[in-house]
């Protein structure tokens, strides 16, 4: 029983990371039908931004770790959102203006991801960075179950982000516009809605949350390297597809599902089987429901 709960908590933590990244894929896909393959690397950039912001406040300004954390959270989210918006501005928007086929935009996204990785490599070198400690580690134990305060923060953050996004998307006008675009982009300007504003807002949300995930990830696993976003980005993307890409609930469900499957596999089999088993299970889910769990096939009426 204790082992089960312990694994459950680990799964929730990993699922939270996947979910926070997956929602960036899903938001952008929902609005632009673009698979933003640079998103995993935006997560990586987010972790580095967090590193520089935290190091700056700790080392140069000499703030307390708590105050540093309080400043690092919003600044990381803001600056990472800036990175996402910049990508949209310089890479995706010019192609969209020219009416380029989606294939070329996806390729552009892949290239942008590689550029982010390699500019990191070029600017900072291949050496890894050690993320500073911002939180005094507290371990809570019940019987054989132990959980750190950080792990709980990660899980609660993911849940809070989910609630916030659900609220934005279902209750606000800009959220409604985001859902509207996903169904019919053509009619958006006819409603008096500047389409670019909605797109920028979408990138702000997605990249901001990737920045938050980057910060939390760096705090949990404090070694940073330029390729840290690649695999986790792919996994989060697959999680988003399995949950039903374009749907926020799907991103979270898919993320947590992947977390559970991975931790479950490792609990029962040698850890080298983890990714093979995890993706085989996800593949089977797609066999049964190719649109993903929350995905719906679009129908139109003549």
């Amino acid at each position: 029983m204790d082992i089960l709960i312990q694994n459950l908590l680990n799964a929730l933590q990993w699922g939270s990371f996947y979910a926070l990244i997956a929602l960036g894929y899903t938001l952008v896909y929902g609005v632009l039908l673009l698979i933003n393959f640079a998103h995993g690397d935006v997560f990586m950039v987010g972790a580095y931004i967090a590193f520089f912001v935290a190091t700056f406040f700790l080392g140069f300004v000499d703030l307390s770790p708590w105050l540093t954390l309080a400043l690092t959270v919003p600044l990381t989210m803001l600056l990472t959102a800036g990175v996402g918006v910049t990508l949209e501005r310089v890479a995706y928007r010019p192609l969209r203006r020219k009416g380029a086929h989606r294939l070329y935009v996806v390729i552009t996204a892949l290239m942008c991801g590689l550029m982010l990785e390699n500019s990191n490599l070029a600017l900072l070198g291949a050496s890894r960075k050690k993320f500073p400690e911002l939180l005094d580690k507290v371990i809570y134990t019940w019987g054989n179950v132990s959980v750190t305060n950080l792990k709980l923060i990660v899980i609660f953050t993911a849940i809070a982000v989910f609630i916030l996004l659900e609220f934005i998307v279902t209750r606000t006008k800009i959220g409604m516009a985001m859902r509207g675009i996903s169904y019919d982009k053509f009619a958006i300007p006819l409603m008096g809605i500047p389409i670019d504003n909605v797109i920028v807002f979408t990138f702000v949300l997605g990249s901001g949350m990737a920045g938050l995930a980057g910060l939390l990830f760096a705090m949990s696993y404090p070694i940073l390297e330029p390729y840290m976003g690649a695999l986790i980005g792919w996994k989060a993307f697959i999680a988003a597809v399995v949950g039903g890409i374009g749907d926020i609930r799907g991103a979270f469900l898919g993320g947590f599902l992947l977390g559970f499957i991975e931790v479950g596999v490792v609990a029962l089999f040698p850890s080298t089987y983890r990714d093979l088993f995890a993706f085989s299970i996800l593949l089977m889910i797609l066999w049964i429901k190719p649109t993903g769990i929350f995905g719906v096939a679009k129908t139109t009426k003549i």
């Binding site: 509207g180 169904y183 009619a187 300007p189 409603m191 008096g192 009426k301």
Partner: protein
């Protein structure tokens, strides 16, 4: 009479094909004007050009002028066509947001409105009294509506965006005759309350009975124009578009 929309010598390209070869027409305040013509004559292209939709949806204006109340709108961004100039387009195929409810569709149309909640609520009441069917279905996902109800929603949405001028692209398409007459009666009523209408129709008979004036478009050129009575009596129009 005040001229609202004036199109002058408009040449438009769709991809590499010139779709309009220098057409001119105007719409005055309070009028119902119709553009009739066969499939592919350039009717939809005309409306899309006037709506200033961004590429790739919209055709490219290569020469000529489109002006609203005397001022060129060629550089007006598409969302300001409705939010600043109050010109609405009900596009062909309706383009409602099927994943949103009826109410959300209407609400989204108020996105750019800056007037009071009281005015906006008044407009909801107006739309629901014009189209009681929409009131009954306000919480339904709009893709579950019938074709006729979707058309009502598309018009209702245009009204919620506070238009004074509405462009309708084939509103009769796919509608049962009874619903079609209902729709045109409602539009007539809106016109009497001050809404200016530019209507595109393949059903020339219906359009000319409804409109004050009309233009006949044929392969990107205007080949006839006049009051509806004149066009209905014109032997060539009769032969080509009115079935005898």
């Amino acid at each position: 009479m005040n001229t609202l929309l004036e199109v002058k010598d408009l040449c438009v390209k769709y991809g590499n094909i010139e779709a309009l070869h220098g057409i001119s027409f105007n719409v005055n305040e309070g009028e119902i004007v119709t553009l009739i013509g066969a499939n592919g004559a350039g009717k939809t292209t005309t409306l899309l050009s006037v709506s200033r939709l961004p590429p790739p949806e919209a055709p490219k204006v290569i020469s000529g002028e489109i002006s609203w109340k005397g001022e060129s709108i060629l550089d007006v961004p598409p969302h300001e066509i409705i939010s600043k100039l109050h010109m609405a387009l009900v596009p062909e195929g309706r383009h409602i947001f099927g994943n949103l409810t009826v109410e959300e569709n209407l609400k989204l149309a108020t996105y750019a409105r800056k007037d009071s909640a009281k005015d906006i609520n008044g407009d909801y009441d107006r739309v629901f009294s014009l189209f009681p069917r929409l009131a009954e279905r306000r919480k339904q996902r709009s893709e579950s509506l019938s074709g006729g109800e979707q058309q009502m929603l598309a018009v209702g949405r245009a009204l919620m965006s506070k238009c004074t001028f509405i462009m309708l692209d084939e509103p009769s398409m796919g509608l049962a005759p009874l619903l079609m007459y209902d729709m045109f009666r409602t539009l007539k009523k809106l016109n009497q309350e001050g809404l200016t209408i530019l209507l595109i129709e393949q059903n020339a008979n219906l359009a000319l009975k409804f409109a004050h004036r009309g233009y006949v478009l044929d392969t990107g050129e205007i080949v006839a124009q006049g009051t509806s009575a004149e066009l209905l009596a014109n032997p060539e129009v009769k032969k080509a578009y009115l079935g005898g």
